[in-house]
């Protein structure tokens, strides 16, 4: 069954969120039933460079082991600008 799983990101997506984020994403990548991962940015107001690092790392891991569709959803304002600036649209589908 095709299966999209949503991960809601917090208001401040920075280094402090790293542990939660990587745990959640690692288990998703290992989940066979899951075909796409949607990162919900609708609540993210603050995002720093280590968050960008985590996103790149996730995309890299996905290439190696999961090959799922990665989606960034609902990014707004500065968060969106930063994601675009980092060219993450090469790794993620923006919605």
């Amino acid at each position: 069954m095709s299966h999209a799983i949503k991960v809601r990101l917090p208001n401040r997506f920075d280094f402090n969120y790293h542990q939660t984020f990587s745990q959640e994403c690692n288990s998703l990548l290992n989940d066979q039933a899951c075909q796409s991962v949607e990162l919900d940015f609708s609540q993210v107001q603050y995002l720093d460079s280590s968050a960008l690092g985590m996103l790149v790392l996730l995309a890299k891991k996905n290439k190696g082991q999961g090959n799922k569709t990665l989606i960034i959803q609902g990014a707004q304002n500065t968060a969106k600008e930063i994601l675009e600036m980092a060219n993450l649209n090469k790794l993620y589908e923006f919605r």
């Binding site: 809601r8 920075d14 790293h18 107001q45 995002l47 960008l52 690092g53 890299k60 609902g74 500065t78």
Partner: protein, 559 residues
């Protein structure tokens, strides 16, 4: 009187006063009544009885009066007994069966009579019936008194709650000339509510809510949001953030069977966008310049206060503002209340209603619809007559400046949320959220760079390895634990509204670093770290690194 008192009164022994001058007969009464488990008070004369009454005995249920007493007529006691014990029944015992006398006695207030010689079984039947009736009367009166007290108390409380609710709403709601809003409650309280607020970027925010049920219970469900919504709207936060927070707040505060169907609107003239979030409300109608429905935003979300944070969908529908001339939002009460002609309102009727002048709308609704069982509300926003964005610069005073200097040393470096502080300082000045976010990101990058690479001298390359983030984090924790007064970060923030400029400088106690080693621009985008400097260049108008590389200065101009 509460339930326990009533029960106690019902179970207490029947208390009977007997006034009889024949002492033998008096004793006979007493023995008989006591055999029926009554308590008996005996008096042999008028005077005897009057003395007893002045001694304030416990309440009596019934008095048996002989009329021919040695010192006068028993009938003369009726008034004093009734005034002392209003619920006591009075039974007149008389040797004559003169109808005129009994007529007079009934007028004086007796409840029944027996003729001497008294048949004791008949007497007992009468006593039981009369006591039962008098106790019921007493109970009824006491209950109706309690009820009327309760009602009065309740009305006072409702009045207070209503006052509080109205004052809160009036204080928080900022009616806009382009918005026509009308709420017709089905009772003293409305579970429908429309709040309008202006964001500091000139956006109009509108919150249209219909809480489960109606009356006080529904109005109370709205209370948690009355303050939260305007606070968030004033900061010009994205609608998704507002919907998310409102849902979270309601989830925390409301019982599970209560929720709030809502429409959230943001009209943003500077971005020329219109955002609509519809959770469980009738469709929002968007009309074009010719007054035709061009778009319907149906409910695609659940009402606020149901889903937990993980399941809640906060994303609104975003539309282009110039495409529309009017927005119409209404509650289900409007389409579910029959008109006086027995019809239900159709979309065309609602569009016609929304064209009424604001002072006539309530009258039109009253003339059109029967008495509602549900609250009814209708709101219409005119998008054609919108003020120019230039008029909308709100809040910020031209002559405002902040110079903020900070020197943090030792362990304090570990526990301080410096970027958060700076963002808070600027957002309190009502600067646009976009700008505050930019400064926050700049401050975060600079502060973390100063702390991690300057003070702690950590190497970003660690992050590159498998599990690298984890090791990096571990080393950071170890480093933070060893901080001393020789380790410091100095920060200076300069904000000048007149020049529209912000300058942020952060210097650390580290040895500095070579710029070329960290890379400025041309790094491949697939590297997980080293984006910090690139971010600074992207977000700031000017970035300077002061030799030997332990100080960064960024500037924003003409924001």
């Amino acid at each position: 009187m509460n339930g326990a008192d009533v029960e106690q009164a019902r179970n207490r022994a029947t208390r009977i006063l007997v006034v009889e001058d024949d002492l033998l007969f008096l004793q006979y009464y007493q023995l008989f009544l006591e055999s029926k488990e009554c308590e008996v008070l005996c008096c042999s004369s008028l005077q005897d009885c009057r003395e007893l009454l002045t001694q304030q005995p416990a309440t009596i249920d019934l008095a048996i009066l002989d009329n021919q007493l040695t010192d006068g007529q028993g009938l003369t006691l009726v008034n004093s007994i009734k005034s002392r014990f209003p619920f006591a029944a009075i039974l007149m015992a008389s040797a004559t069966d003169d109808a005129d006398f009994f007529l007079q006695a009934f007028k004086a207030g007796i409840n029944d009579y027996v003729i001497k010689p008294v048949n004791m079984d008949l007497l007992w039947q009468k006593i039981q019936a009369m006591v039962q009736r008098s106790r019921l009367e007493q109970l009824t009166l006491e209950q109706s008194l309690a009820l009327s007290n309760w009602k009065q108390h309740e009305q006072q409380q409702q009045h207070l709650a209503r006052h509080l609710f109205d004052v809160m709403l009036e204080k928080l709601n900022q009616p806009q000339p382009q918005v026509l809003a009308c709420v017709r409650p089905s009772s003293a309280f409305s579970g429908d509510c429309i709040i309008q607020c202006q964001g500091m970027d000139g956006s109009l925010y509108l919150f249209f809510a219909d809480a489960t049920g109606h009356g006080l219970a529904a109005a109370v469900s709205l209370m948690p949001m009355l303050q939260l919504f305007p606070q968030m709207a004033a900061k010009a936060l994205p609608l998704a953030n507002i919907a998310f927070e409102l849902n979270k707040r309601l989830n925390e505060l409301l019982p599970e069977d209560r929720f709030v169907a809502s429409v959230l609107l943001r009209i943003n003239p500077s971005a020329q966008t219109l955002e609509v979030w519809n959770g469980c409300m009738p469709q929002v109608l968007l009309l074009d310049a010719q007054g035709r429905v061009k778009e319907r935003v149906r409910s695609t979300h659940m009402a606020l206060g149901i889903l937990d944070e993980q399941e809640f969908e906060a994303l609104p529908v975003t539309l282009a503002l110039p495409d529309f001339s009017q927005i119409i939002v209404h509650s289900d009460g409007l389409t579910e209340t029959p008109t006086l002609a027995g019809q239900l309102l159709q979309e065309a009727d609602i569009i016609a209603l929304a064209q009424s002048p604001s002072h006539e709308l309530m009258g039109q609704l009253n003339a059109l619809l029967t008495d509602p069982e549900d609250d009814i509300s209708l709101c219409c926003v005119d998008l054609q007559h919108w003020p120019q964005t230039a008029d909308l610069q709100v809040g910020i005073q031209q002559h405002s400046q902040i110079k903020y200097q900070l020197d943090i040393r030792g362990q304090a470096l570990a526990g301080s949320d410096v970027p958060g502080q700076i963002a808070q300082l600027l957002s309190q000045q009502q600067l646009p959220i976009n700008l505050v976010q930019r400064v926050f990101v700049l401050a975060t990058e600079m502060y973390l760079n100063a702390l991690e690479h300057g003070v702690l001298r950590l190497d970003s390359q660690i992050k590159h390895q498998e599990e690298g983030f984890f090791h990096y984090y571990q080393r950071k924790e170890q480093g933070l634990a060893k901080l001393s007064e020789q380790d410091w970060i100095q920060l200076e923030l300069l904000w000048c509204q007149q020049d529209k400029s912000i300058k942020l400088s952060i210097r650390d106690s580290g040895p500095g670093f070579q710029v070329s080693a960290s890379g400025t621009a041309d790094q491949p985008d697939t590297v997980e770290h080293g984006r910090g400097l690139k971010l600074l260049h992207k977000l700031a108008d000017q970035v300077d690194i002061v030799p030997p590389g332990n100080q960064f200065v960024v500037q924003l101009r003409e924001y």
